[in-house]
């Protein structure tokens, strides 16, 4: 009985949120709080990373870039997972909001992948003496960036946004199947061609003091994603519905 009621409430909530005006209002209220949370967690995480954690005994202060590089890399991959789930829902049930949300994931994922590559490059200069090293993880991230760009480009190439979203969702799924294989193949290629290179991260044991800033930065990237996703989806919705009644009456507040 309780379960049934909960299910009913959930369905009602889902249905309400699925309608464009309610989602618009929801996103407008929630997103600023997520941005605030992002600012606070980033500030605290960066404080811990820059002032509390002792310098790395091998790499000195340059290793501190890890607290941006690693959480951003994780988040860039996490976003692909979220986008895949949304794309499946969009393809099966054709819910417009999930189409919009899935397509809003791609630019955020691409931006974070780009940050990951940039910080990796910055880190690589003192470490390897070069701005770019064909390290397995960096190469995988580069391919991921191309996948994100492909999804964005494909979506943008259609005038009918709903059609574009569903076609790009097929590409999202193809990428989801392929990404683990790409990751594995690049790893394999790397070990065969280079033998053991110095890794940016991993293997070496972590000092316990490194964990708190890392956790705070992981939380901060999640909040960043949530906030950016809601804002992007809200704008996309507004753009698609710009000639609809609800935009005129509820957003622009003009009489039709």
């Amino acid at each position: 009985m309780i379960a049934e009621n909960m299910w009913k409430t959930l369905k009602l909530w889902f249905h309400k949120l699925g309608s464009a005006p309610s989602f618009y209002r929801f996103a407008r209220v929630v997103a600023p709080w997520l941005w605030l949370g992002f600012a606070v967690t980033t500030a605290y995480g960066m404080y811990l990373a820059l002032y509390v954690v002792p310098p790395d005994y091998q790499q000195g202060d340059s290793a501190r870039i890890l607290y941006i590089h690693v959480p951003v890399a994780w988040q860039a991959m996490f976003i692909y997972g979220v986008m895949t789930i949304l794309a499946v829902i969009a393809l099966i049930w054709r819910i417009r909001l999930t189409e919009i949300m899935a397509m809003s994931c791609a630019p955020i994922g691409a931006a974070l992948t780009l940050v990951c590559l940039a910080t990796g490059s910055l880190w690589g200069k003192p470490m390897w003496g070069t701005w770019w090293e064909w390290d397995a993880r960096l190469t995988s991230m580069l391919v991921l960036l191309f996948i994100y760009i492909g999804i964005m480009g494909l979506y943008a190439a259609f005038d009918d946004k709903r059609k574009g979203a569903r076609i790009a969702s097929v590409l999202v799924l193809a990428g989801a199947v392929n990404i683990p294989i790409i990751h594995f193949s690049v790893e394999w290629w790397n070990t065969l061609h280079q033998g053991a290179t110095i890794r940016l991260t991993g293997e070496s044991s972590m000092d316990p003091s490194m964990l708190p800033p890392l956790i705070w930065m992981v939380i901060s990237t999640k909040l960043l994603f949530g906030a950016a996703l809601l804002d992007r989806a809200r704008n996309e919705l507004l753009d698609q519905d710009r000639s609809k009644n609800w935009v005129a009456t509820q957003v622009l507040q003009v009489d039709t």
């Binding site: 391919v143 991921l144 191309f146 996948i147 760009i149 492909g150 480009g153 494909l154 190439a157 259609f158 009918d160 059609k163 569903r166 076609i167 790009a168 097929v170 590409l171 799924l173 193809a174 990428g175 199947v177 392929n178 294989i181 790409i182 594995f184 193949s185 690049v186 394999w188 290629w189 065969l192």
Partner: protein
Amino acid sequence: MNESRTRAASALFRRDMKLAFRRLGESLLPLFFLFTVIVLIPLGVGPGPNLLARMAPGMVWVAALLASLLALEHLFRPDLEDGTLEQWFVGEQSVYARVLSRLFSHWLISGLPVIVFAPLAAEMLHLPHHALGTLIVSLVLGTPALSLLGGLAAALTLSTRGASVLLAILIFPLIVPLVIFATGAVSMAADGLDPDAHLGLLAAFTILSLTLAPIGIAAALRMNLE
């Protein structure tokens, strides 16, 4: 039902072949393109046999990829424009069988000639003779996946503006594992090592593409007809 499916697919295949032969010059362009790439490389990096031999596996494969890419634009687009593509979806017909048939035609035009002329290309790039067998096996196992994944990219971009650039961007990340496994196998063989592990992974990748790509292609084609 099953019989009509094979009949439809084989009729399409025969028509595609007929059309390809009617425009033989156009059909062979990818092959000529392959050789322009093969000739340009020594002109660019110098004719030193050692350097060329090291680059040969990758170069033959990149050339094969470019040849395949060149033919992809004509994979579904003419059918979209003359209305024969929408006929695939009329009634309860098997789109899957026709997709496979069309991809097989594409492979015959863009993949098979590359395999046939691979010894010539390999010789021009000074690939060690004992690696030639592996090169050909890698092409036999890998070029079908090139057609399958290229077909997916072509189907996704079918009704878009600026399809050809987009197509190239979409296909690149999809075929990364393919290029790594295939060129890895040939490089191993050239260095006198056992390429079987690479070839096995290559075959697995092609089989996976064969099971999943046609489903994606059929779905993408239909969505593009909207």
